[in-house]
Amino acid sequence: MARASRRKMFKFGAAAAGGALVAASTRVASAAVPAAPAGPLDDAWGHSLGAGVDDRPYGQPSKYEKDAIRRYVPWLAQSPQADASFTPLQDQPGIITANGYFFERYHAGRISVDPAKWELMIMGLVKTPLLLKLEDLKRFPSVSRIHFLECPANGATEWPAAQLNSIQYTHGLIACAEWTGVKLSTLLNEVGVKPEGKWLLAEGGDGSHLTRSIPLEKAMDDCIVAWGQNGEALRPEQGYPVRLIVPGWQGNQMVKWLRRLEIGTSPWYTHEETASYTELLPNGTALGFTWVAEAKSVISFPCPEKPLTGGPGFYEVRGFAWTGRGKIKAVDVSFDGGVNYTRAALQEPVLDKCMTRFTIPWHWDGKPAMIQSRAIDETGYVQPTIVEARAVMGTAAVYLNNAIQTWNVLADGSVNNVQLG
């Protein structure tokens, strides 16, 4: 109430006395806004005819946005068909990742599945096995839910030290989309899981035939057998025509090009949950079945790719937070390397196992600053510093890096990825 009436006063002031008065009434030394240079009202695009509806049957971004693309780190893997590309988080305005930005991770390349030939086999410890065609699957009752999908190797390069000077490469193995599909529980109820059935195996139909074991409890909870992604059919990169969504859990479990679901008594301990996607600890033992993505956040503006270009003055610091354990409760931002924190505003919607946007106003005085964000989720879990995370995981870890990111803002407005000790 108080805030609303203050905003009204502001508006009234602006209307009555002009912008200069408003600027003066705000706190810090925002210099007066300079006079705009004189110029013609219309540019070339206002003197000509644009393209027609026959020009571009499937839409594309403006040609001026051509830097906003997925990128990869060539020295990370030998083959681009067993590699990952990264989401340009610096160009993502809200919580939805554009389908063309959505990071990729392949184990045998991006295949092209003919939906007319696609089938899903549901078998194992079930009362009536079932074979579904795509049109069959789409007849079941469906849901649409917004969830993030994060590779557990997001931030892997940053375990030993601050190495990649980019939010895209340090945090871009995450994306968030609206998924439409059938709840896995609907299908499992339809086939009837036998009492001794406690685990689900999901198998992909690409050359890697990737398999993951998922406990039945999770399978019956909130998993989705999805065919829709952000207003269109699932993209080939994401497993067209059908992938599994396991909300809040490792991206690797959300098997793409899904072709088979099997119910069994125990886990399969597949390659993807033993030889890889497990974390070798400093003591020589490994963590397996680290399914949940723990709370994490990052400031997406400013960041190395998006420096402060307007000199000292007002900026809105923006970022994303997420947790596989439910909802984000709060995000705190520090401007002094973690000595003091201020609570940021969470932007609606704040959804379960979903990216959440946060913002905080900043009057930058033009001096170097170490900015950080720290997420707190609804379980009370607080995102750790890199020093704390490394104390348990070591410097040679690959997965599970959810440490606080420090961006070092220099006096010229440029931003670098640093780690503090």
């Binding site: 601050a162 000077n165 109820n189 009837g192 088979r260 723990e294 995102q383 640093v418 780690q419």
Partner: protein, 235 residues
């Protein structure tokens, strides 16, 4: 210019769209039972036993579902040489940055080298993985005997089985891999238990920059076309 007929049509379209909106606004929950009973929707086909067997390729650590067939270390060396060595090296040492399949056994703590020999906990899963995913350019192109033979060869290269080992459903299940007990499959996280300190959380004088990525020189470019970084040193 639009003809008046077309204009009329688009006005009519607008009315239809509005009508649809009004209907969906008052729609209530569909009559679906809370938990659908078995076979409630009766959609799809019931596969027969032969079909199910064909789809059923997943193997368990105890060797269950391993298919009939067998292969020797020697036979494996031949198939491996033809199908695998160009990427993984004749002795599993790995060509370029392709995965090494051999080495590091017993040295996970110091060497951190994860290979079939040093890291994988179950021999039947070596069969499972090769059978589902390799060779990389033509997965699922090998016979059961060939997969058994290659599995025997890779285990032998790692010093896990003798030269006269014959891999089959029974013998693979009996192999004890060096890192069999190296995994903790109970997630111990959360591993940190912070409280959200808001003020004076650290001593500002003690804070130092321990690393700065702007000095690393290994970041691919972030503007312009995708950077393929030809010639950059590998990690």
């Amino acid at each position: 210019m639009f003809s008046s007929a077309k204009l009329f049509a688009s006005a009519a379209f607008g009315t239809v769209a509005l009508g649809t909106l009004a209907v969906s606004a008052v729609a209530v929950a569909a009559p679906v039972p809370a938990a659908e009973p078995l076979g409630y929707y009766a959609i799809g086909m019931t596969p027969d036993a032969a079909q199910i067997a064909q789809w059923s390729i997943a193997i368990k650590p105890d060797g269950s579902n391993l298919p009939p067939g067998s292969g020797t270390v020697d036979a494996g060396a031949t198939v491996y040489g033809a199908e695998c060595a160009m990427c993984h090296g004749t002795f599993g040492e790995g060509v370029d940055a392709y995965p090494k399949l051999v080495g590091g056994v017993g040295a996970l703590k110091t060497q951190k080298l994860k290979t079939v020999g040093s890291y994988w906990p179950y021999a039947p899963i070596v069969y499972d993985y090769i059978n589902r995913a390799m060779p990389f350019y033509a997965p699922r192109s090998l016979s059961n005997d060939q997969v058994y033979a290659i599995t025997a060869y890779i285990l032998n290269l790692n010093g896990i089985v003798p030269d006269n080992f014959v891999a089959d459903a029974k013998s693979l299940a009996a192999v004890k891999m060096p890192n069999r007990d190296g995994f903790n499959f109970k997630d111990p996280r959360p591993l940190t238990h912070d409280v959200a300190c808001m003020a004076h959380c650290a001593d500002p004088k003690a804070l130092t920059v321990t690393s700065d990525a702007s000095k690393s020189g290994i970041t691919p470019r972030t503007t312009g076309p995708v950077d393929t970084m030809q010639g950059t040193p590998t990690k």
